[in-house]
């Protein structure tokens, strides 16, 4: 799960990647990941090229490798799953470090690890070079339904407010000597969750009143819009275009 602060991944900067319009970046990352996922797993070299491409993108974005690697931790549960594969998948067995493992299982583990890691890395580069606000504008620009963008933007605006309320309630509980230790304390925690829901819902009603008071009639006025020039599109397209070439080569070679 993500951490408390709404956008921990973002790194302030002025690199060329930071400057690209958000919808170009979103589209580029999505296309890149699609290309990666469609690549046959036997083309091991292709994944090395993808990794090199991402490393280049990260370098242009001036993201330190350590930062990128640290964020890959999010994958850990699936790494565990991948490590199980060689042992549970039936098929031809082979010896690896003296342990008998299955060949298709190894391929499966490799496939999930390689593609998953590349996907996370691409998303991390996107998230660390794009401000929250521009991500929302980018989604809006990519023709996501306006109501969905509005909901997402309210969620982001109030995510912190509500998480803070949760934290304050937890501090209040602990100040009175309550420490949740096991299943028998679930009732108290559930009461917290219930109270949090009521507060959130009532705040939603108050926010609505505040919006209506300033002339809201169901649609958000467009205050900011993002546009992209042809050059910007071309720059953003470099990554997925190269990936597509690699993917096609992976199929033919």
């Amino acid at each position: 799960m993500g951490a408390g602060h709404a956008h921990k991944l973002y790194r302030h900067g002025h690199s060329p990647v930071h400057a690209l319009p958000p919808h170009c970046k979103l589209a580029a990352v999505l296309c890149f990941v699609v290309a990666v996922v469609s690549t046959p797993r036997e083309a091991v070299w292709a994944f090395a090229v993808y990794a090199a491409l991402l490393a280049a993108a990260a370098a242009v974005a001036r993201i330190p490798p350590g930062f990128l690697l640290k964020r890959l931790v999010i994958e850990v549960p699936f790494v565990a799953f991948a490590f199980l594969m060689p042992f549970v998948v039936p098929g031809e067995q082979t010896e690896l470090l003296g342990v008998s493992v299955s060949v298709p299982g190894l391929w499966g583990a490799w496939n999930v690890l390689a593609k998953g890691t590349l996907g996370v890395a691409a998303s991390v580069i996107l998230a660390s070079t794009t401000e929250l606000r521009s991500l929302l504008l980018g989604l809006q620009r990519l023709r996501l339904p306006p109501l969905l963008v509005q909901i997402a933007s309210f969620m982001i605006r109030y995510g912190d407010v509500i998480t803070d309320e949760l934290r304050r309630m937890s501090v209040a509980r602990r100040s009175r000597g309550f420490e949740a230790r096991g299943v028998r304390h679930w009732g108290v925690l559930a009461k917290t969750a219930g109270a949090l829901f009521i507060r959130s819902y009532e705040r939603g009603e108050r926010v609505h009143l505040a919006m209506v008071s300033r002339g809201y009639t169901g649609t958000m006025p467009v205050i900011d819009d993002v546009t992209a020039s042809r050059t910007e599109w071309a720059h953003a397209a470099a990554l997925p275009a190269l990936a597509l070439v690699v993917c096609l080569l992976g199929w033919t070679l």
Partner: protein, 353 residues
């Protein structure tokens, strides 16, 4: 539980994406009705923020381990199925983009499994139970428990089905099913207990806010019926048929698109055997593969039994998979809507003098 990229193959991810998009489109309309027009955006946004926050609330189990709420069932019961699907979908979208939690290409799978299946299953079970049980608060809590309990393994089963059709590694279907359901029944018990307790806590204080318990508390209902915001609640009845009709249109388009995509994409995808099959064919171990193929579902190994042509069989599997999903989904949505139509949307506001 967030599925990363590369776990499910591209064609099935695309189909799941279309299914998810269709479900979100339908939910957008439904949520407007559930929450009352222009109030939908702020209320659904705040509920999404609530789900996001409550997933961080740790419930200690024992000996240092702890779990957290997934929230699908809770959202469905507290704010209704449409808003529930929408909120979970937005949470997943934001987790994917902001935290790289769950692959971008797997977003469709994640929304379908964790958003749509969980929420809809929970709501249908909940509705069914509240209809059968006596109309008391205790029944609502019991129904919440069972709904949440069923919803989590249901999501696991849905995931296993998706995996059987489009998994990139051929872990035997039955093994996956057993492992997934086994683990998730346990998780489901935790989810059920927390959901039921939370719903109970809300009902004790503000029963009017619990979507699934509307019309339960007679004395408070007066206040629920209370109209305040400038939009009068009266015009609820007339637009309903129109909305239903256009919903049907959305469904039809979504279904058609999904079927075409599934058929066409899988047709081509299956022309190039998956890596595993390739390896298997090279090494001459097809026999073994066929063996667990038969052991699994008819759709296992992404092809239909007794259909010899690989391409046709792959395409057919895709179409059947989508068809079943959409049929079940529409049936459920239809049933839910039919039950909901007579109710006028309530809107209320609080006085905070």
């Amino acid at each position: 539980m967030h599925v990363p990229d590369g776990f499910i193959n591209a064609p099935v991810s695309a189909v799941a994406g279309v299914v998810a998009a269709g479900a979100v489109a339908v939910s957008l309309r439904g949520a407007r009705r559930e929450l009352g027009g222009e109030r939908a955006a702020p209320l659904a946004g705040l509920v999404a923020a609530f789900i996001f926050a409550v997933q961080m609330l740790n419930f200690p189990v024992a000996a240092g381990t702890s779990g957290h709420l997934l929230g699908g069932a809770l959202a469905a019961i507290l704010v209704g199925p449409w808003t529930g699907v929408l909120c979970i979908a937005v949470v997943l979208l934001m987790q994917g983009i902001l935290f790289a939690d769950g692959g971008l290409t797997a977003l469709g799978v994640n929304i379908t499994v964790m958003g749509v299946v969980t929420t809809v299953v929970a709501y249908v079970v909940f509705r069914g139970l509240t209809r059968v049980l006596p109309r008391t608060r205790r029944s609502t809590t019991v129904a919440s428990f069972v709904a949440a309990l069923v919803s989590v393994p249901a999501a696991a089963v849905a995931f296993t089905l998706v995996y059987a059709v489009g998994g990139t590694t051929d872990v035997p279907f039955v093994k996956v099913l057993t492992a997934m359901t086994g683990v998730h029944v346990l998780i489901g018990i935790g989810e059920a207990a927390i959901t039921a307790l939370t719903v109970g806590a809300v009902i004790a204080v503000r029963p009017d806010l619990v979507h699934g318990a509307r019309g339960l508390a007679a004395p408070l209902k007066l206040r629920v019926d209370g109209e305040l915001v400038d939009a009068p609640a009266a015009p609820a009845a007339p637009p309903a048929p129109a909305a239903a009709r256009s919903t049907r249109k959305v469904w039809a388009t979504g279904l058609a698109a999904a079927l075409v995509l599934a058929g066409v994409v899988s047709f081509y995808a299956s022309a190039n055997p998956d890596g595993l099959e390739k390896v298997a064919a090279d090494k001459g171990i097809d026999e073994k593969v066929q063996e667990h193929d038969a052991a699994g579902s008819p759709l296992a190994d992404y092809g239909v039994k007794d259909v010899s042509d690989a391409r046709v069989s792959g395409g057919l599997a895709g179409v059947i998979g989508v068809g079943v999903t959409v049929a079940v989904g529409s049936g459920v949505f239809w049933a839910v809507r039919r039950r909901r139509t007579p109710e006028a949307p309530h809107s209320r506001t609080t006085e905070s003098v």
